[in-house]
Symmetry: C2
Subunit: 120 residues, 2 copies
DNA sequence: ACGGAAGTACACACATTTTTGTAAGTATGA
DNA sequence: TCATACTTACAAAAATGTGTGTACTTCCGT
């Protein structure tokens, strides 16, 4: 007799679902911005850093590695000195970036109202 | 001679743009899940807590207040004892929730591949 | 009938965990 | 000396969890 499937359907509302971790990577403070920035094309590490206001080298490197591990970002290192590394989105990365960008744009577009109606 | 506008266009890539904070609220660990959970309709505090696996009372209350302040969630308290409080989405909240949900679904749908191709 | 337990929607103090920032170091060419 | 693309150690800041209290009501057993 077969056992029933119990975790075959990913669900972020479920504490144990690994989709939680992936979602956290893309919705993380810098992950979101990296995806948005890379939508316009390939960027190298320091260009990306200049593009994303306020990110430290440490956090940029760390966030990039998470997104790379999840398969949203591709890292291409050219073995030259000084170092030259390019970052761009994978096909899946583009899809994710599009959704994230849509969300960010919606917020940007309604920012006036959001701030205006705040009491605090 | 007129001064040029400098911060009229919200931009999340800009460190000083207030859209950053709002984006962080909706993409926060529990904010995302609250929005997704409330898409199905009104829920009370403890029902919401049961729906979202792993959230503590403290974090749920805190995250709800941020989303309420930003105008995405509406809180309706019935002055009875024991307390009865309903939470649901505002029109803008629905729009935001839809985008967040789309993102989460995309990740859920590709979770298999994401995990499969991981080296770490 | 009476004590006790559970449910409700939080707030608050405190401790711990996680995240994030800072500064320094690396090897080399322009 | 600066720029490149990081890494690592250390420190500070932020997020999160835990346990307690509240002001009742309803349900339970005895």
């Amino acid at each position: 007799m077969k056992k029933m499937a119990h975790d075959l359907i990913p669900d972020v509302l479920n504490d144990r679902c690994p989709s939680r971790a992936v979602l956290n990577h893309v919705t993380s403070r810098w992950g979101v911005l990296i995806l948005i920035a890379l939508q316009d094309g390939t960027l190298r590490f320091s260009a990306l850093r200049r593009r994303i206001g306020g990110v430290s080298e440490r956090m940029l490197a760390q966030s990039l590695r998470l997104l790379e591990d999840d398969g949203f970002v591709r890292r291409t290192a050219h073995p030259v000195v000084p170092p030259h590394v390019d970052y761009d989105l994978t096909p899946l990365g583009y899809e994710v970036a599009a959704k994230v960008h849509a969300l960010a744009s919606l917020i940007e577009g309604n920012l006036g109202q959001i701030i205006a109606q705040r009491k605090t």
